[in-house]
């Protein structure tokens, strides 16, 4: 099973991770904002994540840690 950890305070809500995920299971939180005022990225379906790290590779702010 894969585990993603987001350094949420550094997320700028650019959405590049959302587009990069081959499983389509990331989203920008519709109801939360971080201290910077951005809707942070989050995983919709933890069980479906395969830990490919595509999201992390496209994140310009390097906020995603991937464990498998």
């Amino acid at each position: 099973m894969a585990k993603l950890t987001f350094k949420e305070e550094n997320c700028k809500g650019c959405g590049l991770c959302v587009d990069a995920c081959p499983k389509g299971i990331l989203q920008l939180s519709p109801d939360r904002i971080n201290k910077k005022g951005h809707h942070p990225a989050e995983l919709k379906n933890e069980a479906a994540c395969v830990g490919c790290a595509s999201c992390a590779m496209m994140c310009p702010d390097c906020i995603i840690k991937v464990e498998r």
Partner: protein, 251 residues
């Protein structure tokens, strides 16, 4: 098991770049290359003038800030005085291909044993989106509101093509970071550009087609697509020069 995390050579602080700016991706790739080659303690970076001026706050190695466009000249001095160090510059297109064109060309012609990471986002990002020498024909910018008029402003400078005409440089490659596959290729190219210096092969420059969503007036997603639709056709990706590979093939 951790399969992906921030590289050690990238300091753990928030980056000041705009949302979706690909400067951040390229910073990470440079830091990964430094980590993987085990050269963190030997690396010295030269920061430019431009949005990436603050690169000196982000890389976990000694950094020097150069005057606008002069990073290759500063890198030359540092490398010649400290040949055991691994010296790289990180420069935008307004820095490297405009005010610093002379320094770029002559460092390449001399085959200085340095590594250059060149961020071509076809615009002056930091100063608010003015036309760069690399802006595309017809590209709308703050100073070309009706699109770049080549009869008035001339044609874009193609750095890899131009430098490939010189006998000096060892390695020239153009990459981009607009999707996962391209990020992997860019990573390989950047690592090779550092490895070449470790092996004493000489001047290596990697041009990265990069997005500036803010000054292009696009969402980050649209900006990555704009690279595919507009930049890559004008600035084809690929290896423009690899002297060692050419020499091996000839033998």
């Amino acid at each position: 098991m951790v399969v992906f995390d921030k590289p050690h050579s990238l300091i753990d602080v928030p980056l000041h770049y705009c949302p979706g700016c690909t400067h951040g991706i390229v910073h990470r790739l440079v830091a990964e290359a430094i980590d993987e080659l085990g050269i963190e303690g030997k690396a010295i970076g030269i920061a430019p003038v431009g949005c990436s001026v603050m690169a000196y706050d982000y890389f976990n190695c000694d950094m020097i800030e150069a005057a606008h466009g002069r990073a290759p000249a500063v890198a030359t001095g540092v490398k010649r005085a400290n040949p055991e160090n691994i010296v790289f510059t990180y420069q935008g297109d307004g820095d490297l291909a405009s005010i610093g064109t002379a320094e770029t060309v002559h460092a390449a012609a001399r085959n200085e044993n340095i590594t250059i990471i060149f961020i071509n986002n076809a615009i002056y990002g930091m100063t608010g989106g003015q036309m760069a020498p690399t802006s595309l024909p017809g590209q709308v910018t703050q100073t070309s509101p009706y699109g770049r008029d080549t009869s008035l402003c001339g044609w874009p400078v193609k750095i890899c093509e131009m430098l490939s005409q010189l006998d000096g440089p060892e390695y020239l490659e153009r990459v981009t970071v607009n999707n996962v596959a391209n990020v992997r290729k860019a990573k390989k190219a950047i690592k090779k550009a550092f490895q070449n210096q470790v092996e004493g092969k000489g001047f290596s420059l990697i041009e990265v087609l990069s997005a500036c969503p803010t000054n292009w007036g696009m969402t980050p997603r649209e900006a990555l697509k704009w690279i595919d639709d507009n930049m890559i056709p004008y600035y084809p990706l690929g290896v423009y020069k690899d002297r060692s590979a050419a020499k091996e093939a000839a033998e």
